[in-house]
Amino acid sequence: MRFAPTPDQLELAGAVRELLTDACPPEVVRTAWGPEGDKARTTLWRQLADLGLLGAMVPEDDGGLGLTEVDLVPLFVEVGRAAVPLPVAETVAVLAPLLAAHGSPELGPLVAGDLVGTAELAGSGILPWAGCSDRALVRSGAELRLVDLTGVDLEPVTTVDGSRAAARIPSVAGASLTADPAETERAWLRGALAAAAQLVGLAHRQLDLAVAHTRERKQFGVPVGSQQAVKHLLANVLLDLRFCVPVVQRAAVSLAAGAPEARAHVAAAKAMTSDMAGRTARSTIQAHGAIGYTVEYDLHLYVKRSWALAASWGNVAHHRAVVADSLGLPPAVDPSALPWEATR
């Protein structure tokens, strides 16, 4: 038993954090909202590729880093903390390992940063990051298909997080990658896990902003952060957040081990982090006052990404239902019926 990241894992996460502090400050996320977004994204993608990050889950023989889901959690926490406006999770956790497993010629350019790949496996009809991606992994029934987005006429969808570059899933058939249910499920779970880890990082960022703001901002002659109501509000955010972290880590351990519990453990992680994300956004906006309720201040960049991720890769209700099934809970009954009516 040793339930803590290894020094190597911490070191890698530290390197990613350092890179993103420089390469993806709030201004870059903000730029991604606007017409100049593409240039900022291209530079950033190249930097991530140079670090080797895009091939993190690709076997070393195929030119990757050969890392596992467990190594990825601290990395995706950093990607979330910086709200990187690119499909890093989709490329790294979902698409690249699949392409590697199938010996796809697309793998090389993807890992090298020459292609950007996104993915949507929930069947929502909306493809995140479509506007900045070259390839998309989508689901068609039990099948995963790879769509080449080059030259496809996309129908953009305006999303709350304006950096998402989302579009309707195009009606292009694409090429079948796999129809193996186990492989499809694993891809789905990796995506959900990566979203959960990003939600942790996003919450950290929101909390850091709220703490910094409430230490500085004075009302009634004292920092607002010295008021007990504000303290307790933010203490709750930390509490919520800190107890999500080990649940996300365990999901990664189970997934990497191919354990049968992986499904329930990923569901636990995504359910808890999605729930936490809603509370964190609400509380950190409140702790800021009106400045938190504006697009001129940075907080909204992180809040809106966390809303987007809470709703994708399965929302709270979906993942709670998966956990409920794993517990063998019977279906819910209609509480308006009294026991003697039960036979109606």
């Binding site: 038993m1 040793r2 339930f3 803590a4 990241p5 290894t6 467990v70 909390l207 703490v211 409430t214 230490r215 004292v222 920092p223 952060g225 010295s226 008021q227 007990q228 504000v230 303290k231 307790h232 933010l234 203490a235 709750n236 930390l238 509490l239 800190r242 107890f243 999500c244 972290v245 080990p246 649940v247 880590q249 365990r250 990664a252 351990v253 636990a268 359910a271 808890m272 709670r320 956990v323 409920a324 517990l327 063998g328 809970l329 019977p330 279906p331 819910a332 009954v333 209609d334 509480p335 026991p339 039960a342």
Partner: protein
């Protein structure tokens, strides 16, 4: 990351499980009543006889030198087996760590074996009518006399005080010194002349609380634990164990969440969507608490100190416990008003945010020490 147990740890678990399955008594009356307490003492003595009372202590005091990991395993098995509440807990989990850290060798040899054997039963004498959250407002005093101390004053809310034989408490020994500096940690046999103990009912009606009055009670110099005037720092050094891991190990909540799940299956006919959600939530949170402690024990084992983190534990388990019991009452429907384990558990859960430092105080600690928000 390694979430597996070693063969030795698995063997330890198997041994604990087998012993508990063979020995756990069923249907004991509440340990917060006089008869129930006596029945629980019998159980404590059985635990001691087979060296399961204080597994993490050294063998010479009746333990097994178990590691923190093994202790967690034992606790998991203990609650999984539905074993009785530990009426000796305030001695074992609150006083003992302090005695190990601050006691003289004589004090350790005198106190620890008898505590483990449930021969000496220790109550916690910190709170007073005028000193609750503001513990440093303690006014019970101990005045220096030749060879010892003379105590006057009153303690209250002493858990199971009416059934205890001894009390560990904080007393004001230097009224001139600033609030925190004038306190001393004293160990007092409750049969000393001048001590009066009055038990009274908690929310569930059981005599689980007591007031303790001191009227010219004389104790020797050897009653001081950790130095005259050092009471505050001696007491605070072990509040972490009260708030965190040792007082409320995850096994307790994992077992409760599992009982809740079984109740939901049994009461499938009244499983509303919200109750179903509540069961899922209790399960998720109990596991989160377990995983959090696994990370915490890893840190402790590798020499990283927990400190103010224990306030997070306390907030989490106490609020989980309430939510879990509220869901149980929902599942019970009209049966919720019947006196039984769930309704009693529900009442007890409501005390979680009060004892061991109220949750308001813990939130302030989290905000100031972990987040770095300014003090007022």
């Amino acid at each position: 990351m390694d979430l597996t147990w070693s063969p030795a740890e698995e063997a330890f678990r198997a041994e604990a499980r087998a012993w508990l399955e063979a020995n756990v008594p069923r249907g004991l009356p509440s340990g917060d009543t006089r008869e129930g307490f006596a029945a629980h003492l019998e159980w404590e003595r059985k635990l001691f006889a087979d060296r399961w009372a204080v597994v993490s202590w050294p063998e010479r005091y009746g333990g097994r030198d178990a590691s923190l990991w093994e202790w967690l395993i034992f606790e998991e098995e203990y609650y999984r087996a539905g074993a009785p509440q530990r009426v000796t807990q305030n001695g074992i989990f609150l006083l003992a760590p302090t005695v190990f850290e601050f006691g003289t060798p004589e004090q350790q040899d005198e106190i620890l074996p008898k505590m483990a054997a449930a021969e000496q039963l220790w109550g916690q004498g910190w709170s007073e009518p005028g000193a609750g959250s503001d513990l440093a407002a303690i006014s019970s005093r101990a005045d220096k006399i030749d060879g010892g101390w003379r105590i006057n004053g009153q303690k209250t809310w002493t858990t199971r005080g009416a059934f205890c034989t001894h009390l560990f408490g904080l007393f004001r020994t230097d009224p001139e010194a600033s609030r925190h500096a004038g306190l001393t940690y004293l160990l007092v046999p409750l049969d000393t002349p001048g001590v009066t103990v009055r038990g009274f009912g908690r929310l569930d009606g059981d005599e689980g609380f007591a007031e303790v009055f001191f009227d010219d009670v004389v104790v020797p110099d050897s009653a001081v634990l950790g130095g005259v005037g050092q009471g505050w720092s001696v007491a605070m050094a072990t509040t972490g164990s009260e708030r965190g891991l040792t007082l409320r190990s995850p096994g307790r909540f994992l077992a409760a969440a599992e009982r809740l799940r079984a109740l939901a299956v049994e009461r499938a006919g009244s499983l509303s969507a919200s109750a179903r959600d509540g069961v899922v939530d209790a399960h998720l949170r109990a596991e989160a608490y377990q995983l959090f402690t696994l990370a915490q024990v890893t840190d402790l084992v590798e020499g990283r100190k927990a400190g103010a983190e224990s306030s997070l534990n306390k907030l989490y388990w106490s609020e989980l416990d309430i939510a879990l019991h509220e869901t149980a009452l929902q599942l019970l429907g009209p049966d919720a008003e019947v006196d039984g384990p769930w309704s009693r558990g529900h009442m007890f859960s409501l005390s979680g945010p009060i004892y061991a430092g109220t949750n308001e105080i813990q939130r302030s600690i989290v905000a100031e020490r972990l987040l770095g928000l300014p003090r007022k």
